[in-house]
């Protein structure tokens, strides 16, 4: 339980760091650390497949995309930085929200947990992905194709006339 609570606390701290960091590169790296912490929480909750996907795709691929984009715009961002005052108010705002929510949310979530209906718990991830949710796989492939199409249409090939 202590390990579990520490992981959640670390995720919140890294998320705050990602929001408040002055440099965009630091923000991207802190976001990767949030992903690593979230994947550790998935492993701890007994969801290894989700943890592996989170670690490889979110902490790996998305971080590479962010670092690539940030390295492109870094000079401009350092020349004209955003006002930091709003970001420095985050710990105060988060503390106020945490204190206010402490009186209402846990009670509500306990009531919510009381309404749950237990599943049979059977099956494997392979059965769920390849047999029961086969139409979704087609949807995922189409979603990836849509992403490729967006990037292709945003960066069209230049033709000299």
């Amino acid at each position: 339980m202590i390990y579990h609570a520490l992981l959640f606390a670390a995720a919140v701290v890294f998320a705050m760091w990602a929001v408040m960091a002055r440099r965009l590169l630091t923000s991207a790296i802190m976001l990767a650390l949030v992903s690593v912490t979230v994947s550790l929480i998935f492993f701890n909750l007994g969801a290894p497949w989700a943890g592996v996907f989170e670690l490889s795709v979110c902490a790996g691929l998305i971080t590479v995309l962010f670092v690539g984009a940030v390295s492109l715009i870094r000079h401009e961002d350092e020349k004209h930085p955003e006002s930091r005052a709003r970001f420095y108010a985050l710990p105060l705002a988060l503390a106020a929200f945490a204190i206010a929510a402490w009186f209402y949310l846990p009670e509500f979530f306990d009531a919510l947990a009381g309404w749950r209906r237990m599943a049979s718990g059977g099956g494997t991830i392979g059965l769920a992905l390849w047999d029961l949710r086969r139409p979704d796989l087609l949807g995922q492939v189409l979603m990836l194709a849509a992403g490729v199409f967006v990037i292709k249409s945003v960066f069209p090939r230049r033709t000299e006339k």
């Binding site: 979110c58 984009a69 715009i73 749950r116 991830i125 769920a128």
Partner: protein, 101 residues
């Protein structure tokens, strides 16, 4: 307080940090970082609910779909950022309207 209630309380804090980032910043990169944090909170909610109801298999299958969609959204958002930066030399989200055809 149960473990489930504690998990969701911390997820609510994570969600707050993500929304705050999206509201406070005008940089497209920070908007996407805020969106990613909100997305992480949503993923944690799905897996936590799956663990609560002993239905982790379907929760993980759903989460894989969520990750695919998240990658596409981030790639499209960063492509818009790079395009806007090339056209206007700015990463300000309020200047994205310069891309309209």
């Amino acid at each position: 307080m149960s473990v489930f209630a504690f998990d969701w309380y911390m997820i609510a804090l994570l969600l707050f940090a993500g929304f705050y980032c999206m509201l406070a910043s005008r940089s497209i990169v920070r908007q996407l970082i805020g969106l990613e944090i909100v997305s992480k909170a949503a993923m944690l909610t799905v897996i936590s609910a799956g663990a609560l109801t002993a239905n982790l298999v379907f929760a993980q299958a759903l989460l894989i779909t969520m990750i695919v969609i998240e990658v596409v959204v981030v790639a499209a958002g960063l492509a818009l950022l790079v395009k806007n930066f090339r056209v206007k030399g700015s990463a300000d989200i309020w200047k994205l309207d310069s891309l309209k055809g």
